[in-house]
Every structure is written in C-alpha cells, then in structure tokens.
C-alpha cells in the first residue's frame, strides 16, 4: 500500500514553486503558482536560472522570503544541460531534500510535466497534472482538474506524503501578498548523473517572434485568445487585429498550421497548446474534436463562422454567423472605441 493520508492538521507544510526562466522576469503562470502556494504552506521558490532583479522584487511582493537557485555543474561546458528534463528533475530532488518540501508546484507545460513526473518517480510522490485548483483538507492535498476536453470535473487526492502538482495557466487570479518580504537567495550545486545526461541536446533554437507579435502574450498563458482556422482562407490579419484590440494571443487550428498560414507554436489542440483563457474567440473554426480538446475549458467561448451548423456553436456562449473578414474588424474597432 502507498503511504497513509498525511494529517491535514500538520503545521509547517513547505511548498516549493518552480519558476520558469526567472532570468527573464516573472511571468503570469509563476504569479498564479505563488498565489496558490501561499494558501498551502510556507513558500520557497526554485529556479535553475538566476532570477533577475525585477523577478526578485516581485517574489518579495508575493511574500516569498526564500529562493533556491540551482547551479548545474557539468563535466563539460554544456550550457544545454539544464534543458534536459531528467537533469532539471535531479536538481529538484536536491531542492526537495534541502528544503524538506511536501508539495512541489510547476506550471503545466509539456516539459514541466516531464520534470514533475521524473521528480515524483524519484521521491515516491503522487503526481496530479493540469490542475485548475489545489487545496489541503481532510483528504490531504487535493487537485481539481478537467478531463475529456473540459467536459468532466475530477478531484484527485494525493495519498503519499509528498505531492507534485502541475497547474494550468489562468487557474487563479494572481495577487501579491498582504505584506512584502525581503528575499533571501540560496544556491545549490547540482552534479547531474550519467543517466540524466544520456540524452544530448545537440542544438536549441529559439523561434523568432512572429511578425508584429512581440507585444502579444504567450498563447499558453494568455487570458484572451483569438484563434483562426480554415475559414480565414490564410488571411490572419482580421484575427491579429481583434487580438491586438483585446491584448490577446493569436492561436490557430491544426489545419491552419499545416497550410503554413501560422507557425506550429500557435496550434491549439490536444497535440498542440492546451489553453483555458478567460475569453476564447474562434474565427473560421468548425470545432473539430482535436481543437475542442485544447480549448473547451475556456471561461467564455465566442465563435464567428459563416456556417450556422458548425459544431463550435454547440460549445459557444456567443456566436456570430457571418464572414469573419467583416465581423472581426468591426468588433476590433468597437472595442478600441470603448477603451478610448
């Protein structure tokens, strides 16, 4: 049998929050994780990259008094080591040992799910992925999540002493702590094992920001998303126009990616980016199951399509039957006028 359920009355729960690239500042998923973590116990932040001054200041504002920075020490001058998920997991194993953490929270990217799985495997922890809420109660640590393309709610209790949880973006509204604190930075040297470095990262190329897209939020973490499909006929200008009026990220269907109209990074779906923004607007998208699986957990769903029988209208809160090339620019203009 697995370990018995931890006693919820046990004080002094330590929560380790994994920061993604804090050398580039804190991003909204990190703020959301820190907000959740504060309600679960004493928070320590963990990073493999050195946090920027801005990131440290923001950690203080979120009430995080302690940051543990892992320094990956390789045999070679291999700058790529930290990008291997087994290596990142070994760094976290050491961080859990050094902090005595009971709970580890990560944002829900593909790579973080791998890191979390390796970590949980190594320390015998329970793993709950893609949660929308995390709580501690009579049942110990509980993660709530949506399954089957957002059509079912499931609550999972972790039955081991330690828990590793990934949290999807926009799960909560981030809020700083009531009182800011001073942040202490500690460092830990990590010597990755041969097993963790058996895979070699030969090259790593960051994609250029799509043209005009540098000011847009990242798709995976955006609170607003405007997505285009086959119905755009390859012209994403109306989609981008409405996205910019709303401060939204631009997404797309698999079809639009395969046609080469947008980059692979924009693909929403079960095999692309899974999103749950506050508002999703789909234009020229019929609503195939694979796309729906990647966006159906969105807060408000709006669809624009010239076919009134498109399946996407079945899951939409609001829909316009019409030509997206007419509807989207008009909506963008009205929103800009409203915002002044």
């Amino acid at each position: 049998m697995a370990d018995s359920t931890p006693d919820p009355t046990t004080a002094g729960r330590t929560v380790l929050v994994v920061l993604d690239r804090p050398d580039r500042g804190l991003r909204s998923p990190a703020r959301e994780l820190l907000t959740i973590a504060r309600d679960l116990g004493e928070v320590t932040a963990f990073a493999i990259a050195e946090p920027s001054q801005d990131a440290l200041a923001e950690l203080g504002a979120y009430g995080v008094g302690h940051v543990l920075v892992a320094d990956i020490v390789g045999d070679s001058a291999d700058a790529h080591l930290a990008h291997l998920t087994p290596v990142a997991a070994e760094a976290l194993v050491a961080a859990v040992a050094s902090t005595g953490a009971d709970v580890v929270l990560l944002s829900s990217s593909f790579l973080n799910r791998e890191v979390g799985a390796h970590l949980a495997h190594a320390i015998g922890a329970g793993l709950v992925l893609d949660t929308s809420a995390v709580s501690v109660g009579e049942q110990g640590l509980v993660g709530d999540k949506r399954v089957f393309a957002g059509s079912w709610d499931v609550s999972c209790a972790v039955t081991t002493a330690a828990a590793v949880v990934t949290v999807r973006a926009n799960a909560v509204v981030a809020a700083p702590a009531a009182e800011p604190v001073v942040v202490q930075v500690d460092r830990i040297d990590i010597h990755p094992s041969a097993a963790a470095t058996a895979t070699v990262l030969v090259s790593r190329t960051e994609h250029a920001q799509p043209e005009g897209g540098s000011g847009r939020p990242a798709l995976a973490e955006a609170a607003y998303v405007v997505a285009g499909g086959r119905g755009t006929l390859g012209d994403f200008a109306p989609v981008e126009d409405l996205a910019d009026a709303l401060g939204a990220a631009v997404g797309a269907t698999r079809d639009a990616v395969d046609e080469g109209w947008v980059t692979h990074d924009a693909q929403i779906g079960q095999t692309g980016v899974t999103i749950a923004p506050r508002v999703y607007i789909g234009a020229g998208i019929s609503g195939a199951p694979h796309h729906r699986g990647g966006m159906q957990a969105s807060g408000v769903i709006i669809a624009v399509n010239n076919d009134p029988d498109s399946p996407i209208f079945e899951i939409a809160d609001f829909g316009v039957v019409g030509d997206l090339a007419e509807v989207l620019p008009q909506a963008a203009q009205a929103i800009r006028a409203h915002r002044g």
Partner: protein
C-alpha cells in the same frame, strides 16, 4: 532490429466519454479504439524497419504491447492491421486502477520480459493518450527501464545505433540524440500513418495475441493497480452543459454585437 510500441485502448474522442463511479475511464468494446496518436508510433517503427536491407529486415520485429482487459485486444488488432509483427497484452485484475507510475511499471515489465528473448533496440510511443492526456508515461517508462528519453519527436532517425530526433515545442526547436536502446515518443507531425490494406485487415482477425499476467512478467502486484497508486479519485462528475449559445446572424452589425457581448459581460 526489434522495436516495441506500447499502445493504449481508449474511448473514441467522438463518443460520449465518461468516468466510472470509481473515477476510472470507462472503456468498452463498442466505442473503444486504438489511441490515434499511437498510430504515429507504429508508423515510425514500421518505417525504420522498412528502411533496412532485406537481410536485417527479415530478422526484425515490431511488437505492439498493451495493458488492459480483453477489450483492449481491439487496439492490438488495429496494430496488426497496420502491420506490426507481434502483439502482447498484459492482463491482470491487479492492474485495475493503475496511475501513471503503475502503468509505466507494468509496461517496463513487459519490455524486460521481451528482452529475455532478445535485445530491444527502441521503444516508440505516441506523445499522449487521448483519454488522460498526461503524456508522462514515456519518460516514466524510460526512468523505469534506465534508458535515455527522446520525447515529442517530429522527426526521427536511427543511424549506426544512434537515435536523433527534432522537436518543436513552446517557441523552441531542439535536436536531441542518444544511443539506442532508448525510449522515443513521437508527435502527430512525425509522419502520416498508413491505411491498412485489405490483406492485413483480414489477417489481423486471426493473428495471435500473447496474453501475460503480472507473474509472467515478474511484476510485484502491489506495485501496480490501486495498491500502487499514489493518487485517488475523490469525486468525478460531468460538467453542467453550457447554456444555449446566443447566436446572432450578421446583417452588417455582427461585429458590434460581438463587442457588445464582451462589454456588457465586463470582459473588456
């Protein structure tokens, strides 16, 4: 060359998917199917074998394996239709309720049992199962087997015992390499799975499926199933249906209606 492809029997994503009272995915023979993303893994394995010269090809084998009750044979029959050489199912009451760790432990035991008959060069999986969508079983399998991992491949090559993949994820393109044997997961961009031909469809009906229980693969029953699970489903329920869509037909003011919907719901 010997390639093992773990596959999963999942509810069709077009069907009315649901959980049982115990919080497990309801799997029936009626609406169950081979996890679509596993077809890419099978295709990748077949292409690697088909690229070999005739001599090597004659001694090569692609083995599809799955974990589950007899209904899961439907997934293995589909794998036979696509052209795998052999199919194995691990079946035991002790496996019911396995979490991702139990699943990886069980698959690893089957791979090790297959290794007893001869070396395994590669394990190739799909990037995720379309029911759970956890996508972590491949790396847990690599950890269990002590093999290098190469995940989310959109390109895959194997030359001189070295596996190389290309992957695109979250704004980055990476090239990774590791010596075989290794565990590789492939995305739906890696290839286009073939359609089964009539001859293979007919032959798949009667091909043998090897069935092993946990004892046959040397698996400790307490490490899998409910007994080995580290999480427990407390509650599960279908979400209430969304209210009916408010549908507006554009007669020149559709965009204004859209903006108005956002404004009056305090969404801008």
């Amino acid at each position: 060359m010997r390639i093992v492809v773990p596959v999963k029997h999942v509810p069709d994503i077009h069907s009315d998917r649901h959980l049982t009272d115990a919080g497990r995915v309801a799997r029936g023979s009626d609406d169950g199917t081979l996890n679509e993303l596993d077809e890419n893994a099978i295709e990748a394995a077949l292409q690697l074998v088909e690229a070999l010269d005739d001599g090597e090809r004659a001694t090569s084998e692609v083995v599809a394996i799955t974990v589950g009750p007899a209904d899961a044979d439907a997934a293995l029959r589909k794998a036979y239709q696509l052209g795998v050489d052999r199919a194995v199912r691990l079946s035991d009451d002790a496996l019911a309720g396995s979490d991702v760790f139990g699943t990886a432990t069980a698959i690893a035991a089957v791979v090790r049992r297959l290794e007893a008959d001869g070396p395994v060069d590669l394990v190739i999986t799909g990037m995720a199962a379309l029911d759970g969508l956890a996508s972590v079983v491949p790396v847990l399998l690599a950890a269990e087997l002590g093999l290098p991992q190469l995940t989310l491949a959109s390109k895959l090559t194997l030359e001189h015992g070295q596996v190389e993949i290309v992957r695109d994820l979250e704004g980055v393109t990476e090239v990774l390499t590791a010596p075989a044997p290794a565990v590789v997961s492939v995305t739906d961009h890696v290839n286009t799975p073939r359609y089964p031909n009539f001859k293979l469809i007919m032959a798949a009906r009667t091909k043998e499926i090897t069935v092993w229980d946990v004892a046959a693969v040397g698996l400790d029953a307490s490490s899998v199933g409910d007994a080995g699970a580290r999480t427990r489903v407390l509650a599960s329920a279908p979400r209430p249906p969304r209210p009916d869509v408010q549908l507006v037909t554009d007669k020149g003011e559709g965009g204004l209606a859209l903006a108005d919907f956002l404004i009056r719901n305090d969404l801008v």
